[in-house]
Symmetry: C2
Subunit: 449 residues, 2 copies
């Protein structure tokens, strides 16, 4: 590679039967398979055939319960940890990343479940650490409103600290398992954590031993100021959304430098924006494919989706008019980076509510790229070699066809260019992503003492 | 069948690499396989070969962290929901039951995860509803001590109410999925729950549709007064521990009558005590097998296990003396039915601490039966035909051998006697257990109105 980088990293992002809000209506989408395990088995095996680094499951802890959303939106899905565990036994190499919120969970449960998935899959687990930012989620968890942005991130940081501490609570050589003497573990290598801070008080140790990867891979998905800091300090992968090369480069540069501020190497954090690819045999075919999907978006559902993303009900406003005056990003308490991105986009391109809703109906704020396999590869390569991304989370517009196209047409082109692996060479997800195994905080403390 | 009952129900109870505390030291136990998914795949497939109704995973949310337990006890295990999800794709018929505590979880998560497992496995999920009764668990979940017994049960009852409401929140025919019109669901058949009571405030609806079984099977494991009431009102299966036919018959009669008090049929609740079978080709071989396991119990570990079950540290007392004076069951806040059972057993048979610890090292309070396959079958048949049990949870002393012996030797004997199925006839766990699909609270309310 000209810039000394290794291959790009690729995640197969899975949300419902496709990323596009009208995915389920696509003639080739498996709509009635939305809760059919064989459908996801096929997706997972297709991604593994394409040598993807990981499957990456989106998540949210509620459904939008207005009548429009309930009627027109495919708002049901498998729970990520159960689905990925099921898929672990029908795949061999591909990483398994679950989105899990720190806002309404307990760190002991999450440390344990993700460690369990890491053992079950022999080192292929990842956790996409998110904070919950929807009122509808709060209402399912004993609250009237969701946590304030700064508090969410403070809680997330402490949550991660507890989880990593629990993963370290059994050192990697703590197990003895000597039948003759009856010694199961070296008790000096099993540690209580005794964590007691603002949000959590957790004694430990965990009831499952050190995960095969030491720590399963940590993905962080917020691009707000607090999100960037948390990622730079604690994450292995950052999942982000950018529309233009320039913005993405600026973000890349800033975050890689922040990583160094925390005493880590820039290679320790992989930056992987989301992209929604629409692939045709010709440019024209790609355009038609996009148009078909866009035509399947019912206007009221588009407005409801946009309202959900912004956290503001837009149904009272004229659909062919501009966005109403909206609060400044500092004043909102939802997902800040997504909010700012949508406002910027509407302003930059002078979009009406309908136009903006159609623009996000597919990629939901992420970048849409379209064209032939060569053109898709060009666009990925451009960002990769120009320090805008270490790889991408590929958001198939619908399943299974959208992913099959990518695997059968784009991956071979990336491989021809030397931009992507032709075989898995490592065993764990950390191996795939080129990430070091983290040290253990208890042995580090001992070494220092 | 002489008494008109159908076949007995059998669960394959899984705790660590065997139920006996020294299981991992047994020459034929897969000790180093304790976190090897292939080992559990083999166990699951063996149980399915034996036509078991279900795999039944034990659970606890902490390890005993005294040095003796950490050193000598196999205290790590997979988390039940991730393990069962992984096993769902390598089995076809067998039910998948996870023990999950209501004390340190949120009902939305549990409703969703168990529904997800039910969809993944096409109707084979069950939830063993327990309350957490160990101080060591409380300390992993932001508490200094665990909830008081009555509060635990009140919380459990409300937790179950929320979970069942969420399972009902999508009626079973709510999904339309009509690509042409764009209608995904009949919004009138999707319900918010708006639960707001003492412990929980949960709006709903759930973000996964009605589970294939309507409600996954509910197992309840407490035999205290509060436990019996909860089971009689809400459970499909009761998992219990009795040493003698008489006690078991009294319990069976009482609970079946309680079930009727709640307007349910006695067949709606299956009573399945735990039994630990030690099977030999001859009676002598069975005795030797038991002796071998008992000799593998290190005395200090036996005392630590007994201390854990009673919630009282027995290490200061002479191991060959009697139990010290212990509080009355009304004064303790741990697992009440187990506590009473152990005190009764020690008193009835005048056991020393060492003897009592060895008695529970295997079955941990459940009944041990030993002998040839015929003798084992006799003992199961006696309880089954004399209204002491609808079936049993079989606690293999060690894996995989202990389960293989049962499947290869005892099951054929039960089948010969017409006491157990020779093939699976239904598709779901409810089918296997002979349980009706529950009604939906929202449609029931409508029908009444």
């Amino acid at each position: 590679m000209s810039n000394g980088k290794s291959h790009m990293k690729l995640g197969a992002f899975i949300m419902s039967v496709g990323h596009h809000v009208a995915a389920w209506r696509h003639p080739e989408a498996g709509a009635t398979d939305i809760l059919n395990i064989d459908f996801y088995k096929n997706i997972a095996q297709t991604a593994e055939r394409g040598k993807f680094d990981m499957l990456f499951l989106a998540d949210v802890l509620s459904v939008q319960d207005d009548d429009v959303s309930l009627k027109y939106k495919a708002s049901i899905c498998f729970e990520p940890l159960t689905l990925l565990s099921a898929l672990s036994t029908v795949t061999k190499h591909i990483g398994l990343a679950a989105t899990i919120s720190t806002s309404y969970n307990e760190p002991f449960h999450i440390a344990r479940k993700v460690a369990s998935l890491d053992h079950i899959s022999r080192g292929r687990a990842a956790w996409n650490v998110v904070t919950s930012n929807l009122e509808s989620e709060a209402l399912n968890f004993n609250r009237k409103n969701h946590l304030e942005h700064a508090v969410r991130y403070e809680r997330a940081r402490e949550f991660l600290e507890v989880v990593k501490g629990l993963w370290d609570s059994w050192e990697k050589d703590a197990l003895i398992i000597d039948k003759k003497s009856g010694v199961f573990a070296d008790e000096k290598k099993v540690h209580t954590l005794n964590h007691q801070k603002r949000f959590f008080s957790v004694k430990g140790p965990l009831n499952i031993s050190n995960p095969p990867q030491g720590h399963p891979v940590i993905i962080q998905a917020g691009s707000s100021e607090a999100g960037k800091q948390l990622a730079a300090e604690t994450a292995d992968v950052i999942f982000t959304a950018w529309q233009t090369l320039k913005e993405a480069q600026a973000f890349y540069k800033e975050v890689k430098s922040l990583v160094e501020d925390y005493g880590r190497s820039p290679e320790d954090l992989k930056i992987m924006p989301g992209v929604l690819p629409i692939i045709g045999k010709t440019e024209q075919e790609a355009k038609e494919k996009e148009q078909l999907l866009q035509e399947l978006v019912l206007p009221e559902l588009g407005v409801s989706l946009l309202s959900g993303l912004l956290g503001i009900d837009l149904s009272p406003y004229p659909i062919d008019g501009p966005l109403p005056d909206l609060p400044n990003v500092d004043e909102i308490n939802g997902g800040k980076s997504r909010y700012q991105l949508l406002l910027d986009l509407a302003k930059r391109e002078k979009l009406t509510i309908r136009q903006l809703s159609l623009r996000i109906a597919g990629a939901r704020g992420h970048r849409t790229i379209k064209g032939t396999a060569e053109q898709i590869a060009d666009q990925l390569e451009e960002w990769f070699i120009n320090d805008a991304a270490d790889g991408f989370n590929i958001m198939a517009p619908y399943f299974p066809g959208g992913l099959e196209d990518f695997v059968d047409l784009v991956i071979p082109e990336l491989q021809r260019r030397g931009l992507f692996r032709t075989e898995y060479t490592g065993k764990t997800l950390r191996d795939h992503l080129g990430l070091k195994r983290p040290g253990n905080q208890f042995t580090k403390a001992l070494e220092k003492a």
